[in-house]
Symmetry: C2
Subunit: 307 residues, 2 copies
């Protein structure tokens, strides 16, 4: 099957408004007066962000969700996405069918549709670039640069689970039961970005970021953009029971540097309650640091680097 | 240098309005009431669309221009682009500096700016996905499906030159002088999409497509989408002197199937004059065919396929 057949068979059924059934040179987004369009793009690559043996539906959902987390962190409601696929020649119809099923499942879950993309063959690893589009009311995107001294630092979900799943895939020794092992692997394969939280976030957050590089590294982006110091109180970082079992005494340090969480870290006035944990404070200074038993803990490699 | 250093050094200087200096999770496009946003994306890959020994400034410009041709074909004026880079570990600072220079040069030439993207490392070939954004007055995008029986078929520029340049790189024997050889190679390396023609095109075209797969293949897309037959009169296809010298008696058939032209083919009322050639007619029926001396010429492989 050539790329035209692949597009017509697997992807055209996913196309929504403005995509023209993937049968034109370009897609169309009408202006929504009073709304800003928010655009983000991230590539996932075999061997880095997923493994060849992962179910292709999960790979599809991860490729989407690592972008939906960026939109959510900006307070945007997702609407559409583009898909740039570089497929090894060995890809099978079954793989493609599963991949399209994964996309369809998340389209329903998040109310989004496929707008366009391109499909090509590669001699290299499978690579999937998704570009996601969402909307916020005009001027209401949450930036990284709005953190204020006196803010508290909050985070959604639990931290480090995806990194735990990856460690298991990398054959790290562990004594987890099957259910706990599967929980962590599932978090690696299919991130759970708090997409529905975006509107509430917009109402409270001064600054926000999605956690992809690692909690401390990404809070460092807020600290740097806002010109503040962010102190994370280690004891308050939300950690799952399976991850505590997996990593024991090392759990905190590994969790806050693992990355691949796709949860949201944000600053807002202190004392708020909601689907998030209060984990730190914004002070005068710069950079983000981790406190353990009240003392600053030096992190040599705060997050993931591609190079 | 890690990806943060690469982005800060080479790409942040290219960032324009809405890109936040490439220092946030997402970019922002304000609504332009009365305008539709037109979006297209295409990936270029080493070994397929360019060679590792091509100047990196030319690679950058090709990656951009294969997208600008799609916008032009839709009647859209380009505004912004995203860049997804998969870089081999062997990439050098000089290569990156040249690449950024090529982007800067085309940003000035076409009045566009960088909106965002991502940069990762790959064990595979260098791959560059560009997503381009342009605007048309509301409802005025030129589709593929508007061709009418009685229309003439037009094409901008000359056809097949890029394919000629590629053939030379593939060591096809030839007797071209250096200037002619360089002309064809330049057309392969840096396409010349008629970006400034978009507004004029919008005023006259019923259907339009950019020529990437091959003249006959791409006109076949218009024929299929519009439910018409398109007959291209071979003798009228504009061919450059260097390409005629390179390919001799085979020039027409090779030129109309070579692809990689990034010119625009469109249908409009017959007898129009402008920066284009009238090359065929729209009739009742389906598919696109090539006539040579008035007879239909069977084309077995009308255009490029990735698989």
């Amino acid at each position: 099957m050539d790329e035209f057949g692949i597009i017509a068979t697997y992807f055209a059924p996913l196309a929504g408004e403005g995509a023209f059934g993937l049968k034109d040179d370009a897609a169309l987004l009408p202006a929504r007066p009073g709304q800003d369009l928010i655009i983000t793009t991230d590539t996932v690559t075999e061997g880095v962000d997923f493994f060849a043996f992962d179910p292709s539906a999960d790979i599809a959902r991860k490729a989407l969700r690592v972008n939906l987390s960026d939109l959510a962190a900006k307070g945007a409601v997702p609407a559409h996405y583009l898909l740039n696929l570089s497929l090894p020649h060995t890809i099978t119809p079954d793989w493609l069918a599963g991949f399209a099923d994964g996309l369809a499942q998340d389209q329903r879950e998040f109310g989004i549709s496929l707008l366009g993309g391109d499909t090509g063959a590669t001699d290299g690893p499978l690579s999937i670039a998704v570009t996601a589009f969402g909307f916020v009311p005009q001027g209401r995107m949450i930036r990284r640069n709005g953190a204020k001294v006196g803010d508290a630092v909050y985070v959604t979900g639990t931290i480090g689970d995806s990194g735990g799943g990856l460690a298991i895939f990398k054959r790290e020794k562990h004594s987890l039961n099957d259910a706990d092992r599967d929980t962590l692997i599932a978090r690696y394969r299919v991130p759970q970005p708090p997409v529905a939280f975006a509107e509430q976030l917009r109402a409270i957050a001064h600054a926000s970021v999605d956690i992809s590089d690692g909690l401390i590294a990404d809070l460092g982006h807020i600290a740097s953009a806002s010109g503040v110091h962010i102190a994370v109180i280690g004891e308050r970082v939300p950690l799952s029971a399976p991850l505590r079992t997996l990593w024991g005494d090392e759990v905190l340090l590994r969790a806050v540097t693992a990355g691949d969480d796709y949860q949201i870290a944000f600053t807002a006035p202190p004392g708020l309650r909601g689907p998030f944990s209060e984990i730190g404070v914004v002070e005068q200074g710069s950079v983000a640091t981790l406190l353990v038993r009240g003392k600053e803990f030096l992190i040599k490699k705060p997050g993931y680097r591609h190079f």
